[in-house]
């Protein structure tokens, strides 16, 4: 171990840590804030909220996104909702319960202090969003409505139809535009970060390629925040947007930021199944549907070819209700996904290739009427029908698990600072709060908690307690970083091989899904670790990128991202191989209970695996942050 992993968790009782920390943090006085420049990469919930809030405080902010507008960040696609411990339903919710549910949902692999803070801040988020004009669903009395999500027995999820992420993002985006108009934020759309600039051990800027002109330039600052989302697209097919990528965090990793728990991947149980070879992405059907939909497959293999309406009630296996009677269809995502895979592996899957299960609304429609169901999920049902040409009001939906979220990410301390001083990481890009499995409606909560309420304070503490020297574009480390990006870009363009970027990406995805997907074992992971370097080598020898670097070149952009996925995929397999236990979304078939549930090994693996880049051609170094539970008793997770 070479890194000092100090999580900098404040002392004192859990409930008072954040308060105490806020008092102990150093402040930058209002007149001095405008002397500091902060770079925020990414404009989703975490990045957009951080950029707007930092600017409101008075900092100079520069914000970057690869899309043509900050409003298009992939947070926009989150459907179901956002959790908060408001206890408006009087059903026994509390900060303590949200904290406990999140730790348990993450299969006891997250950091207590961070998760407790998240639960505390959750209530402020809802207040903030309502005051910005987020049109959350309401009851007739005018008060906010709630629904239930997986892994919880209370109703604490706030929502705006099936478009909660969109509405929350628009709130942050509008605040961001307000600050842009005021001059506090300079926005760089269609700009991609291709490297991190580290000067004297501190993050001092980024190297950016302007996607329209191809210009590669250094952008310098006093601190850098990465809020660039997750890396699910390493699997090629995922529910992520096509542009989602790991390049920013991967470049930071290669500059010295530790990468934590890369193998923790969330496979979401309810997505529209793959239709054919041409498939370019997968579409999620919100977990909220499991409030009213019942998941089933035929009991007998002979019945899988039948129309679902011809399978009588007694011949259906409502397997989630059968196996997990107390949580039923609202079991957590990792458990529901594995159960679907099991049913399909058993030959009882439905639809093309037998990779699908039914999500049936017939009972709910009988109970509540079609209108009520339309009000709750209308846009999701329409989306389903547009894609499949089937009417889910009449026939059950067919769904199958798909890659959705990555719990792993850059290692951060309590201040959300990585192992590189000055480099902060927020939202899905960090590893901090969800352990080995994220609960539904918690990603939006974490993104906004980080962006609105944590980063704006901890950045101030960093700046107030650090002496920074002047760094200009002529600095040797800055020039070297720019030269490195230029070299890499021209190398990619110079290959002029025979195979397309998408072909390599699809092939990598196939390897990852096969060997590092819903179920993993040592032999498969070793095999993947042989296949991936071979594919990487072929990529750098045979990829075809037409055109030049001095223009809008979407193939070049994609190639750079796939090149990084080809390295990250191997690290994910390495991490999955070393973690000789099953926990949450990481399921090693060698480690399971007699009834097929994940079997943790707390004695040996109750730690965060923080991988440190070892240099070109050398193996990465494993560092461990032990997870200490002072307030929660570790137990076998049960949803039965």
């Amino acid at each position: 171990m070479t890194l000092q992993l100090d999580a900098r968790i404040p002392a004192g009782p859990l409930a008072g840590k954040w308060d105490r920390h806020r008092f102990e943090m150093k402040l930058v006085n209002p007149a001095n804030k405008r002397k500091y420049t902060v770079i925020v990469v990414g404009s989703g919930l975490a990045g957009g909220a951080a950029a707007a809030s930092l600017s409101e405080l008075g900092y100079n902010v520069r914000c970057y996104c690869y899309q043509d507008s900050p409003r298009r960040a992939h947070s926009i696609a989150a459907q179901g909702g956002i959790n908060a411990a408001k206890n408006y339903q009087n059903d026994g919710d509390s900060i303590q319960r949200l904290f406990y549910d999140t730790i348990k949902g993450g299969d006891f692999r997250s950091r207590e202090a961070n998760v407790y803070r998240l639960a505390q801040i959750s209530v402020n988020i809802i207040d903030q969003c309502v005051s910005q004009g987020v049109p959350f669903a309401r009851e007739y009395g005018g008060l906010l409505a709630n629904r239930s999500f997986g892994g919880a027995q209370v109703s604490r999820t706030f929502y705006a139809r099936g478009q909660t992420g969109q509405q929350l993002l628009l709130g942050a985006y509008q605040a961001l535009e307000k600050e842009i108009a005021k001059g506090g934020v300079t926005m760089f759309p269609r700009a991609e970060m291709l490297d991190l600039i580290v000067v004297n051990g501190r993050a001092r800027g980024i190297v950016v390629r302007d996607e329209l002109t191809g210009k590669i330039e250094p952008h310098l600052a006093d601190a850098v925040v990465l809020a660039t989302g997750g890396y699910g697209n390493v699997f090629y097919l995922s529910t992520n947007a096509k542009g989602c990528n790991a390049t920013a965090i991967w470049r930071a990793y290669k500059r010295g930021a530790a990468f934590a728990n890369p193998c923790y991947t969330q496979i979401h149980p309810t997505c529209i199944p793959v239709a054919g070879e041409h498939q370019s992405k997968l579409t999620l059907m919100s977990e909220s549907l499991r409030n009213d939909g019942r998941v089933w497959v035929p009991k007998r293999k002979e019945d899988v070819g039948k129309s679902p309406t011809d399978v009588p009630e007694q011949d259906r296996d409502y397997y989630l209700e059968r196996k997990y009677p107390s949580f039923g269809n609202l079991s957590p995502r990792d458990i529901a996904s594995r159960a679907a895979k099991e049913a399909c592996d058993d030959g009882r899957g439905v639809g093309p290739g037998g990779r699908g299960v039914y999500l049936d609304f017939a009972d709910a429609i009988k109970r509540l009427g079609e209108d009520k169901i339309r009000e709750r999920y209308g846009n999701l049902f329409e989306m389903y029908e547009r894609i499949t040409a089937e009417n889910p009001y009449k026939v059950p939906m067919r769904i199958y698990p798909a890659v959705h979220y990555t719990m792993g990410g850059l290692w951060v301390d309590y201040n959300l600072m990585s192992t590189i001083p000055g480099l902060h990481v927020a939202g899905e890009a960090n590893f901090s709060d969800h352990g080995a499995n994220r609960l539904g409606a918690s990603a939006l909560m974490q993104g906004l908690a980080d962006g609105y309420f944590v980063i704006p304070l901890t950045i101030g503490d960093y700046l107030a307690s650090t002496k920074l020297e002047q760094v200009g574009a002529d600095n040797a480390e800055v020039r070297a970083a720019v030269a490195e990006v230029e070299r890499r870009t021209s190398r990619l363009l110079g290959i002029k091989g025979k195979r397309t970027v998408a072909q390599f990406h699809r092939e990598l995805g196939r390897i990852m899904w096969e060997y590092c997907g819903m179920a993993r074992d040592a032999a498969g992971l070793r095999k993947a670790m042989e296949l991936i370097p071979q594919l990487r080598e072929e990529f750098w020898r045979d990829v075809m990128i037409p055109g030049s670097g001095a223009e809008l070149n979407q193939t070049l952009e994609h190639a750079g991202r796939v090149a990084d996925f080809l390295e990250l995929g191997e690290l994910m397999c390495r991490d999955a191989l070393h973690r000789e236990e099953s926990c949450g979304g990481h399921f090693r078939t060698e480690h399971q209970t007699p009834d097929g549930e994940a079997l943790r090994d707390d004695e040996h693996f109750a730690y965060v695996a923080a991988w440190e880049y070892g240099g070109e051609g050398r193996e990465p170094v494993l560092n461990k942050e032990p997870l200490v539970y002072e307030n929660i008793k570790l137990s076998q997770r049960s949803y039965k």
Partner: protein, 258 residues
């Protein structure tokens, strides 16, 4: 299915563009329109040619990145559907499909089917927000909002900012886009303090950006992938008119930097 495509190719903002013909063969009816273009692009790349540039990201109809004129119709033939959610089963074997970028003075072409929609961001920056700095909020349930108002606000807030309304409008007007934001915020109690100021500055920004005026053709609501009603334009006009007539002089003093 086998199709013939006529696609607008334009290498750069100042270069001349024109329609170019491509064959799309073995198209599956289950493909989305963008997946069909992916296949065409893959073949172009294999030949070392530049693929057709188009904006896209989420491919589930919510990010608003994609958008093209398909046989002269913004987002193509399916009502309430963004280009990425349009599927090839909407076409027939042997069809010829003409694909062009959004056409509007305020949306200059960048390359092929990619246009610059930055003007829409600047309209939002002009006033499409509620000033509520982080940390200043009161409890979320302290102001009840009638369900009907919250629902109507949500209807307008569903706008994805794709620009189809502008592209469909014979005048190149952004009124549906702007009206949707003015309605989303104006229907909520939280949006009242800035309501009239917002209408004035957002409408003024539309003019600055070179969008045309609205003469109520109604093409915008027909093209909108979120089926936002043209009623939002009436609401914008009412707020604008009232603001223009009653505009109080803004005085400084008394606190606040607004």
């Amino acid at each position: 299915m086998n199709l013939t495509l006529q696609v607008w190719r334009q290498p750069g903002p100042t270069a001349e563009g024109g329609l170019k013909e491509y064959k799309a063969t073995d198209v599956s009816p289950d493909m989305s329109f963008l997946e069909m273009l992916d296949v065409v692009n893959e073949r172009l790349i294999e030949k070392g040619e530049m693929p057709i540039a188009f904006d896209h990201d989420c491919r589930e109809g919510i990010c608003g990145s994609c958008g093209m004129m398909i046989n002269g119709v913004a987002h193509g033939p399916s009502r309430g559907t963004a280009t990425c959610q349009l599927h090839m089963r909407s076409f027939r074997d042997g069809d010829t499909i003409v694909i062009e970028p959004w056409r509007a003075r305020a949306f200059p072409v960048i390359k092929d089917l990619v246009v610059n929609r930055g003007a829409l961001d600047r309209i939002i920056a002009a006033g499409g927000y509620i000033t509520a700095p982080t940390g200043s909020a009161q409890d979320a349930n302290s102001i009840p909002v009638p369900k009907q108002d919250a629902d109507a606000s949500m209807d307008a807030a569903a706008c994805i900012g794709c620009g189809a309304c502008v592209a469909a409008c014979p005048n190149g007007s952004a009124s549906l886009f702007t009206g949707a934001k003015i309605s989303h915020l104006g229907l909520l109690p939280q949006g009242q303090p800035e309501r009239y100021r917002r209408a004035l500055s957002m409408v003024a920004q539309m003019d600055i950006e070179g969008f045309g005026g609205c003469t109520l053709f109604g093409e915008c609501q027909a093209a909108c992938p979120k089926e936002i009603s043209i009623d939002v334009i009436s609401r914008m006009n009412r707020d604008f008119l009232r603001a223009a007539v009653t505009k109080p002089a803004e005085r400084s003093g008394g606190g606040g930097d607004g």
